[in-house]
Amino acid sequence: MSAPFRLEGGGRIDRTRTLHFTFDGKPYAGFAGDTLASALLANGVHLVGRSFKYHRPRGIVAAGSDEPNALVSVGSGPRFTPNLRATQVELHDGLVAQSQNHWPSVNFDLGALNDLFSPLFPAGFYYKTFMWPKSAWKRFYEPKIRAMAGLGHAPTLPDPDSYAQRYAHCDALIIGAGPAGIAAALAAEAHGARVILCDEEAELGGSLLAERKGIIEGKDASAWLADAVAKLRQSPKVRWLSRTTAFGYFPHNMLGLAERMTDHLAAPADGRPRERLWQVRAKEVVLATGALERPLVFPDNDRPGIMLAGAARQYLTRYAVKPGSRAVVATAHDEAYRAALELAAASVEIAAIVDIRQDMPGPWAARARAAGLRVLPSTTLCATSGRHRVSRVEIAPCGSDGKIGARSRLDCDLVLMCGGFTPTIHLFSQARGKLRFAEKLNAFLPDGGAENLRCAGACRGIFGLESAIADGVAAGEAAARDAVGGRVEAVHAPVPLSEDGGGGRLEPLPNHRSPHRVKAFVDFQNDVTAKDVKLAVREGFRSIEHIKRYTTTGMATDQGKTSNMNALGIAASALDKPLPTVGLTTFRMPYTPVTFGAFAGSARGELFDPVRVTSTHEWAKVKGAVFEDVGQWKRARYFPVKGEDMQRAVARECQAVRQSVGLFDGSTLGKIEIVGPDAAEFMNRIYVNPWTKLEPGRCRYGVMLREDGSILDDGVVGRLAADRFHVTTTTGGAVQVLNHMEDFLQTEWSGLDCWLTSTTEQWAVIAVQGPESRKVLERLVEDIDLSSAAMPHMSVRQGHICGVPTRLFRVSFTGELGFEINVPADYGRAIWEAVFDAGFSRRITPYGTEAMHVMRAEKGYIIVGQDTDGTVTADDVGLSWAIGKAKKDFVGKRSLARPAMTDADRKQLVGLLPENPELVLEEGAQIVADRQSAIGQKMIGRKMMGEKMIGHVTSSYFSVALGRGIALAMVAGGRRRMGETLCVPMPEGVIKAVVTNPVFLDPEGKRLDA
């Protein structure tokens, strides 16, 4: 059985495919091609939700993305989406939709009490009320307000769908596939341009989809549309995207498009992405975004059954739905007459056409009268009634002075309103285009100054089918000419702007009631009335941006589509200023809401961010290693055995290295190969150290500064040949060090003959550390003499290990005899296992980053970025010995001579030993000079701490080798304070610690030279 308000024939629906759906649990049926809104209207359902603030019953106002009221939740379980416009939700079989913003039901909503108490909720009410007591705001008022207000509920389950992204490039991107956009696409394509055409609707056609009588190029409009679409589909140069919203215009003609791919399907194919985010770079853009019809502002203009005239016409012609049985048409524009005539022809009774204007210059009023419709000029609509649906209106004659005559009543179940049209300039404004106000059209129109774009059709004030198409052709040709160049000529000129008036009205309709008692809505979605806008002005808000924020008009997802111009008109007259000088608020992306999924795209789960692993990762995983994130790298932190916790595992690992031998993967260290005859000179300039005399085969610990004198990075450098250095950097510093070096080489010292190549990923680095390390390696290395005489501490040799070429370093970050084996990365795993096997009898122990950190701290070796920050110099951390004193210049040298850099009270690296050896200080803990100030700090709070704080703990561990907690700290004048007892105030009490040399273990370095 057909729905009660469905016409017998017509429309672009497929009557052979009946679709079943539920709304608020009640079953209904519609046809393929319906939206949820059209299907509900066909079933006579107008009440679809409650308003944001006052919980007033609301119905369907529009037929497209401008719908402010009919926000519904669609789907269930994990596939649940709130706040979808029912006018854009395509019907599919089994669709489940719910109304929002009410309790317990849309018909009986306790929240509607807000409406009765609405005097308590004027504009900015939450800035004025709920002020006291202060503590109640966070605990009580805000949660309550948030629970009451707000739109639908967020889904709570993980999103099962996938979201794709794609970059695209074209000569001409055409946004909006109405008559102007289609004409532009055809013209651009014909002139050889690569075209992308997108439209937010399911079908291309825009206003043509509701066009009944238009004739284009001798064809009837729907036939022309079908031909045009077929032509576009066949062209290899055109990509057309329906269900695709151009939501943002970004610099240099980059646009964001959101394509909805599966929401319209009853059963989306597995794995098919739900949406695709397009990032389109267009040489030229044609905006053919049309215009939006404006509501009229009159008392209680928000009852279900009150809708835009053009929307009613769309429901009738496109969906074959009668939006009511008896309509009153209220208008300030000719377009409503067309709707009235078409509805009348479909046997909707037109009670009256109430036109606020005195004169109707166009032919439409006469046509309406000729068709027997009652036309009432100079008449206002001053009241409506009807609880869940409009049932009656009051009208009254109204002079140009605003005086109201005798009122009369009209019964109806439908009110059509048309306040005129607002060109859709959202994207144009996002492109930083300039606007001008066209008085006769009552509209802001594009006026240049933007990106490489042009507007066509209604979005630049060109109305009427023929004009829109001609304008689209001109825009398409010009876009192709500017993008493709060469011999392309734009033959047609843009259509001149019509000087006709008829631009509708930007002020409320006059009424007889007290302005304090009237709710005439400007912004339906945010529940903002004309009264609110006026109140904001009375309270001193002058800027339209402030009025917007104070009243919330045009905010959020609405982005001013239906509300902006009316709010502006009311604000301008309240401010008593000409409208153009008040100006428009900034349009922001997105034009309509875009799902988070579309922005995230593939960046979730395993593809959230690259996970970088070394060649021994799988081995470590099998051994049960616990990993830590170091940037994007996964590094083994420790290797617990038999249920060890971290502390025990690290203690065992440290002990193994100190007593026998340990194995560590250092592959993540940054590596750069610097090659060329000027390599040493370059090194001299970029590092603080001297390099000229370093012999090939030897290594040196290098420190580099930023030009401001602070430490940028450090690492061991091996000289492989006179003209070749193997540089290592910290794991996190690899990229910026290479950038820093390239910067100087390219821009300051371009005359130097040396070049940089990143080799971070070429080499797997296996550190073998401990007194037994040489004995383990001797069994594997073929052609390198590992003896201390032949290969002393800080040397590098090239040879082979197990038949694999290696760069073998004798270096140590543990303070023990140690080697770092570099082998080409694909051999890393095999060599690692070979070393592990060779060390088996010596109980070789793999160790992780935590043990590495402990052991280097025992030796007072800093970690750049942990013990240093952007303010620390080489001297501050005791590295002035590294500076080549004889060098005239190096990066950062001049800054070291600035007065602040030589201040004796600078923070300096020291060791700290807590008096209680069991204690391990907290990294980051603040340090004060004595107990007095520690207590003072506790009593007086933060201020005292700022005055007395003299340093902070940078590294702190429990050292098994020393049998106590140790720490590194940066302390003001620290090196003067050796032996002093300082205080570390903690919540549990003050901890005392003694300042010591930061080298806790083997200060003579005997173990290194073993």
Binding site: H252, R281, E707, N739, E742, E748, R894, A897
Partner: protein
């Protein structure tokens, strides 16, 4: 996303580039001759131009080259890009002017 004309590779998306601060601030041949104030100016003094700004970019995910660009900071339009070592190109008055 800006579209930047690398002097070597042509127009490429901003994603491939890294910003490099103000251009034409040459490191002195002998910094030790600079007084503290002059050195401080070299380190930290920047023009913070409203309008046409000469700045450095590196095509880090491309050819790796540093280069210079003239960009109008009021509208993000590039008037020119040019290789390191080349003179800052002269622009017609109108293009160099700061918009009100």
């Amino acid at each position: 996303m800006l579209l930047i004309d690398c002097p070597f590779c042509g127009k490429r998306p901003e994603l491939e580039f890294r910003y490099g601060g103000e251009a034409h601030i040459a490191r002195p041949d002998d910094p030790s001759e600079f007084g503290d104030k002059a050195w401080g100016q070299f380190l930290y003094g920047r023009s913070n131009q409203r309008g046409m700004h000469a700045e450095r970019w590196r095509h880090v995910h491309g050819c790796g080259r540093f280069f210079n660009a003239l960009r109008d900071t009021t509208n993000d339009r590039f008037a020119a890009t040019y290789k390191i070592g080349e003179e800052r190109p002269a622009l017609p008055e109108a293009q160099g002017a700061v918009e009100a």
